[in-house]
């Protein structure tokens, strides 16, 4: 049986996975592989409402709420962005909306990818994280 990790443990796990890489090239190769493996969002879900317009590449995000937990699926035109999305989904999926809102996604800077979250990067990632949190906010139990 799979052991359920906390959101912090999932972040720590990614950080230690990235520690083995000696240089940027290995890191990006890994991200690109992740991007290739990420299950695509279903084509019919790639709607205007799910689109996050980046200046350079577009991102689609779908959010569901089941049994008190969030489920995300997403896609991007750019494979490196998609790899980072894969990491974000791994951390945030199956979490309660409250946990998602509270969490500082520190792992991104810990693995040296903070430049991808810069608002000027124009890859839609920043907008995607905002949207993931907005979606979680919808399901907060009052």
């Amino acid at each position: 049986m799979a052991i359920l990790l906390t959101i912090q443990e999932k972040q720590d796990e990614i950080v230690s996975e990235f520690e083995v890489f000696d240089d940027w090239m290995e890191k990006y190769e890994y991200l690109i592989d992740l991007g290739k493996d990420l299950p695509l969002i279903q084509e019919e879900l790639k709607t205007e409402e799910r689109l996050i317009e980046g200046c350079q590449s577009r991102v689609w995000l779908n959010a569901d709420f089941n049994d008190g937990k969030m489920q995300f699926s997403a896609d991007s035109e750019a494979i490196i962005t998609k790899g980072i999305i894969g990491l974000l989904i791994r951390v945030l999926n199956d979490e309660h909306p409250e946990t998602i809102l509270k969490t500082d996604l520190k792992f991104i800077s810990d693995i040296g990818l903070q430049e991808h979250l810069s608002p000027t990067r124009a890859n839609g990632l920043n907008g995607m994280i905002k949207k993931m949190k907005m979606e979680a906010l919808k399901y907060i139990q009052h």
Binding site: W24, M25, C55, Q56, E77, A78, I80, A122, N123
Partner: protein, 411 residues
Amino acid sequence: MTEIIKKPFNVREIREEFPALRQEIYGKNLIYFDNGATSQKPQIVLNAINKFYSKENANIHRGVHFMSQKATTEFEEARKKIQHFINARKAEEIIFTKGTTDGINLVASSYGELLTAGDEILITAMEHHSNIVPWQMLCQRKGLILRVAPINFKGELIEEEFDKLLSKKTKLLAITHISNTLGTINPVKELTQKAHAVGAKVLLDGAQSIQHMKIDVKDLDCDFYVFSSHKLFGPTGIGVLYGKEDLLDRMPPYQGGGDMISRVTFEHTSYNELPFKFEAGTPHIAGGICLGTSVGFLNSIDLDGAQKHEGELTKYAEHLLDTFEGLHIIGEAKNKTSVISFTVDGIHPFDIGTLLDKHGIAVRTGHHCTQPLMDFYKIPGTTRASFAFYNTKEEIDLFVEALEKSINMLK
């Protein structure tokens, strides 16, 4: 006029003048191939900026004191240098703006006031957003019609179609001299003649041509020519609108404020003469003076040799890129400048740009502010390498090597 004998162009020597080129990015020597976006600055321009703010900073055109007089003289001397650089008839025809976009907006707002509903403006399918949106806004405001001359897949204007769109109703042809995305050099002298034959005025967007070829506005006979200083090795935030004097005289002021007036009462204001009529407020004084420095720098080098070098770089890069499977060069006009835009099958330009950056190589990716052009080619964007005279064949070798590695990673 006596021709000054210049030292033949030498890329090694030129590179020495540009300190920004001597730096490492992620531990690799910087390879700067984003010159279409902006150019690096020579030491002489950096020194001039420092000198102005260290010793000469004063407001111009109004002070009786020494520093103000000196700054005014230098600013107006810069205007004259620019006048001679583009061979304008008079210094009054040189209007300082914030840049190319600002110059186009000035013409759209001011010359646009002379137009009436039903008049037509002709642009082309390869324009930068800056040469589309101001005209769309003007058309909405004044009930004008915007016509768009189509291009072929090589990225060349289809002249028969252009001829059909040009008519007595056309009041302005606003066209890019060189496409920022495709590198296409448009036959603007010939197109200007055609436009003038139907009574239309001509605005040339010179953002990509001023740094790559000798511009002679008298010979081109265009009515307006606009460019940005920062693409011409000068500071950002300053640019030039050249306009024929009689036309500028007929145009109403663009913005109101200081410097552009001759007499103000609460009942009535009379306007200053050219060029000040179009220069409301304190201008970018240091910018203007240092653009003059940049023009002086260009006058001191063998520009013919520099252009030849740029042409060789482009041919060399295109030749190497031709061997890449699945790589398509977007923009294959017969007459083009040192811009190479390309796509690679199955790979998004953003990913290529991200990996090249890790190799210390600066290229531009995306739609290059030409979304209608991307729609025409049915692509989300391109990767664009744009060269300046300070780039080298060795840099292109390293770029091609890094590109190959990047594509292999992304495949």
